[in-house]
């Protein structure tokens, strides 16, 4: 193997390689980082416009809390979109599950553990019911989930009998409004949170360095060392900085931990697992995937089951955050979730999209919501601007691809 790889022609003479390689590499991968850079630009813009309010620890914490349920659903939606489908029902499903949680815990006085488990199972069942029609009966997902959207919106209303139900037990509220424990103490700074942030940054760097070493060992082309070192140190610094900001308020929110674990998990599944690979193949060319021995029906089905579970989780997080289940919960969430995926570079025709892209897309929407609210932009023009940003992001993406 090694010999062949050595035979791969080197395009640049070695003498000038290191200098030229960096810029060449950057040009090729600019699109990958373009999205991240846009998020940075948007944050910088609002940071300036709001006189620094955006990045204040309190607001940053709110930003995380406000967007957690969108991010959680965007993870599932990304898989659904990559598989070539769409799920319009996620908002209604999350609202319905929130209502179910309220009925179980508030009206019936269930303990939060069995209630949560039953809610997640309900989400799975809802996903399975919709996925069955899409995958096995070949009903277009747009229609199945449009129906689901109506059905579960109605069921939530019926379950709550048109009223808000709350408050939730305090233990359950902590899912959204709690922060991780701080055994290490600290007066103005939550040390445990800060250390966790530092640990996360260190682990990330270690994993990246090891990954790079493995790539080099197999002779894969890697990014130039200088670029690698630069990006890693920037990312590590950003993580530590954000951890420090959050630690100077109440520490890392519980839901951030949940979110982080899910993001890492789904990122790994999409990039490294056979299941993830097969979902991309299914969305890229369903017929070719089927003729390669992939059970495309079952795979589509499971992406919907997964979506159902994540919608349920998002519904719990949202209910816990509001501390009450309202008939209006979940209204319009599906639009933010789908927009996050498309801003993040997913293709409406399937086969293309990244988990981290969808997460960044969700935060692009989130930062804009938050920033515009601080600036006092009315809900009317907020929607106009968000709509235009979605269109612009996809237009730029499509334009780049066609070039």
């Amino acid at each position: 193997m090694q010999e062949q790889i050595a035979a791969v022609p080197e395009l640049t003479p070695p003498s000038r390689a290191s200098a030229a390689a960096g810029t060449n590499w950057l040009r090729g991968h600019l699109r990958e980082y373009g999205l991240l850079l846009s998020l940075v630009a948007i944050m910088a813009f609002f940071q300036v416009m709001t006189d620094g309010t955006l990045m204040q620890p309190l607001n940053l914490t709110n930003l995380v809390l406000q967007n957690s349920y969108i991010v959680i659903m965007a993870l599932g939606m990304l898989l659904v979109i990559v598989a070539g489908h769409i799920d319009l029902s996620v908002g209604s499903v999350s609202g319905f599950v929130g209502a179910l949680a309220a009925v179980l815990m508030v009206s019936w006085g269930w303990h939060y553990v069995p209630a949560t488990l039953l809610c997640l199972a309900t989400g799975a069942a809802i996903g399975a019911a919709q996925g069955m029609w899409v995958a096995f009966f070949r009903i277009p997902s747009f229609i199945v989930t449009l129906a689901g959207m109506l059905v579960f919106k109605g069921l939530a209303l019926a379950l709550l009998q048109g009223q808000s139900v709350g408050p939730f037990p305090e233990t359950f509220q902590r899912l959204s409004s709690g922060f991780i424990a701080d055994p290490l103490g600290g007066d103005s700074l939550r040390l445990t949170s800060l250390l966790l942030g530092v640990a996360a940054a260190v682990i990330m760097v270690v994993l990246k360095v090891r990954g790079r070493a493995a790539q080099v060992k197999h002779g894969m082309q890697t990014e130039p060392l200088a670029v690698f070192a630069l990006t890693q140190s920037v990312f590590a610094t950003v993580i530590v900085y954000f951890a420090w900001l959050l630690s100077s308020y109440k520490g890392l929110p519980n839901v951030l931990i949940v979110m982080a674990v899910l993001i890492l998990g789904y990122d790994f599944i999409t990039r490294r697992s056979t299941i993830g690979r097969r979902i991309y193949a299914l969305g890229g060319n369903e017929k070719a995937a089927r003729l390669s021995g992939i059970n495309t029906e079952r795979l589509s089905f499971y992406t919907f089951v997964n979506m159902g579970v994540l919608s349920a989780l998002a519904g719990l997080v949202f209910a816990a955050r509001l501390n009450t289940a309202t008939p209006k919960a979940g209204l319009g969430f599906e639009l933010d979730v789908i927009a996050a995926c498309f801003i993040g570079g997913a293709s409406a025709s399937g086969g293309v999209g990244k988990v981290l892209g969808a997460v960044i897309g969700a935060f692009v929407m989130g930062v804009m919501n938050n920033g515009m609210s601080i600036l006092g932009v009315g809900i009317d023009y907020q929607q106009v601007i968000k709509g235009l940003v979605l269109l612009a992001a996809v237009v730029v993406d499509v334009y780049n691809k066609n070039k």
């Binding site: 002779g219 697992s273 097969r278 193949a281 890229g284 060319n285 003729l291 021995g293």
Partner: protein, 510 residues
């Protein structure tokens, strides 16, 4: 009488890497039926696309002279305006619209965008009467049989004041009565002064109605027969169609054929939509270790359908029959089972069915056998890269790196990626469906060499091809498929292009 309505002079057309038309000359006289015959891939359809403006001027070379003037069609409406109308093998009707709506689709009698349905219906009745179709203009096309739909297509052409009617395989999906009626109609139209180009594989039909016949081969006109001087015989046409030089286009191989490995017994399958139609009507075959079995036949003979129904029921319904490998029955009820049992099917349509076009070479190569580069469901990127690199060098896939999306590769290299994918799945029986379609000569030779080496490794190879020289040059045995069953089988030594062609066109009346 011998005034030409259409002359095509020295027509050539190149696609990237393939010369579809080299030098075609075709002259059609006013008021005659002109047959055009040739093998699959001889260039008939491409020629008609040039004529109708699908491939606009100046994407082709040569001259088109219609009604005494040189024409340069830029689009289909350009040619239709002059009365050149083509009816394709796959009918271009909208099934859920009525006959009248179909006939005037895009050409509606309207004032200020408001359709005059009274006029449309009256005109429809007139043209339907001309083609002898006794149906209400309001009948939906989907409620008609294929034969009647064909007549609607012709009526549509008549409504457009057709001068030159081109029919591409009009009788391919018709039964004998409908075919005869259609041919009679053509002669009727001829007496009204409408010229007609008839493209068909059914040589007996062409011989019956054509006034002259042009034979195409490899994108060139071979000869034009005048049927008034001497009736055209089928054997004469066949000789002209296939009589090409067999140069050194195939790598040498000494077959090492062993025991029977793969057996299919009485394989039957029904059409997935028209479930009462049996398409594969009891096919049986055996392939021995290290043997290459060729399957010849026309498009629509059922070869691809047979292969795909065998490969995990990927085509058809109500599939029955037995498959044995090394004498043991194997389960091929799903693609995953078939792959596991040791089958692989390399599709004829690599873009639609073979590759995930937007994905990298690396990912396409491992797709059918992901488990081999993964541990407990987690893909080992390094191992995958190594595998992809190995196939890249072994198959001479020319790509910048294995991270290149396959959409950017040439047809030949894409085909090598599809082959790599299936070789990595390590099959015992490899079904190759048109393995060299749309590939240039150099890449063909590489793929032939590869097929030979696979046979030498003891694999069983079934090769479906519409290119007869390829079958003759590569296969140890050739079976001829005709209308869903094997009509003949030839050993390597005794097969000739003429014999195969005769077996292919025989029985076409049933």
């Amino acid at each position: 009488m011998a005034e030409a309505i259409l002359e095509m002079r020295g027509i050539g057309k190149t696609f990237p890497g393939v010369q579809a038309l080299a030098d075609v000359n075709l002259a059609v006289n006013r008021g005659e039926i002109h047959g055009v015959v040739g093998e699959n891939g001889a260039g008939k359809s491409t020629l008609m696309k040039v004529l109708s403006g699908v491939y606009p001027y100046p994407e082709y070379s040569g001259q088109i002279i219609f009604q005494g003037q040189e024409r340069r069609f830029k689009s289909i409406p350009d040619s239709e305006k002059l009365g050149i109308i083509i009816i394709h093998q796959e009918l271009a009707l909208v099934p859920l619209l009525s006959i009248a709506e179909n006939i005037f689709l895009g050409n509606e009698p309207a004032r200020f965008g408001i359709i005059d349905w009274n006029r449309a219906f009256t005109r429809t009745r007139e043209v339907l009467a001309k083609v002898g179709l006794d149906e209400s203009p309001a009948t939906r096309v989907t409620d008609l049989g294929v034969g009647k739909q064909q007549l609607v297509e012709i009526a549509k052409a008549l409504a457009k004041e057709v001068k030159l009617l081109i029919l591409d395989e009009p009788t391919a999906s018709l039964n004998e009565t409908d075919s005869d009626a259609l041919l009679e109609l053509l002669q009727e139209l001829k007496s009204q002064g409408i010229s007609c180009i008839l493209i068909s594989h059914k040589l007996n039909e062409v011989a019956k109605v054509a006034d002259s016949i042009t034979v195409l081969r490899d994108g060139s006109t071979i000869e034009t027969l005048d049927c008034h001087e001497a009736p055209a015989s089928e054997s004469r046409m066949i000789r002209a169609m296939v009589g090409r030089e067999m140069a050194e286009r195939f790598p040498p191989r000494i077959p090492k054929i062993g025991e029977v490995v793969f057996e299919v017994d009485d394989w039957r399958a029904h059409h997935p939509i028209h479930q009462d139609r049996e398409v594969i009507k009891g096919v049986s075959l055996v392939v021995r270790r290290g043997e290459i079995l060729g399957i010849a036949g026309l498009m629509g003979a059922g070869r691809t359908e047979f292969a795909m129904s065998l490969f995990g029921g990927s085509w058809g319904r109500n599939i029955r029959g037995r498959v044995r490998l090394h004498g043991r029955d194997i389960n091929v009820s799903s693609v995953a089972h078939a792959v596991e049992a040791g089958l692989a099917y390399v599709t004829e349509d690599r873009k639609a069915l073979g590759l995930v076009m937007g994905e990298e070479v690396r990912r396409n190569v491992t797709l059918a056998n992901l488990g081999a580069v993964a541990t407990r469901g987690v893909i080992d990127n390094g191992r995958e890269y190594a595998v992809a690199g190995e196939y890249r060098s072994r198959m001479h896939i020319r790509c910048a790196s294995v991270f290149q999306p396959v959409v950017n590769l040439s047809g030949g290299n894409q085909q090598k990626v599809v082959l790599s994918k299936w070789l990595f799945a390590d099959p015992e029986v490899l079904i190759l469906d048109e393995p060299t379609r749309g590939i240039d000569v150099g890449a063909k030779y590489e793929i032939y060499s590869l097929i030979n080496s696979l046979a030498d490794q003891g694999k069983c190879i079934i090769m479906i091809s519409s290119e007869m020289p390829e079958l003759l040059g590569m296969c140890d045995r050739i079976a001829v498929m005709n209308n869903g069953r094997f009509a003949a089988e030839f050993a390597c030594g005794e097969a000739t292009q003429e014999k195969i062609m005769q077996a292919i066109v025989r029985d076409q009346l049933h």
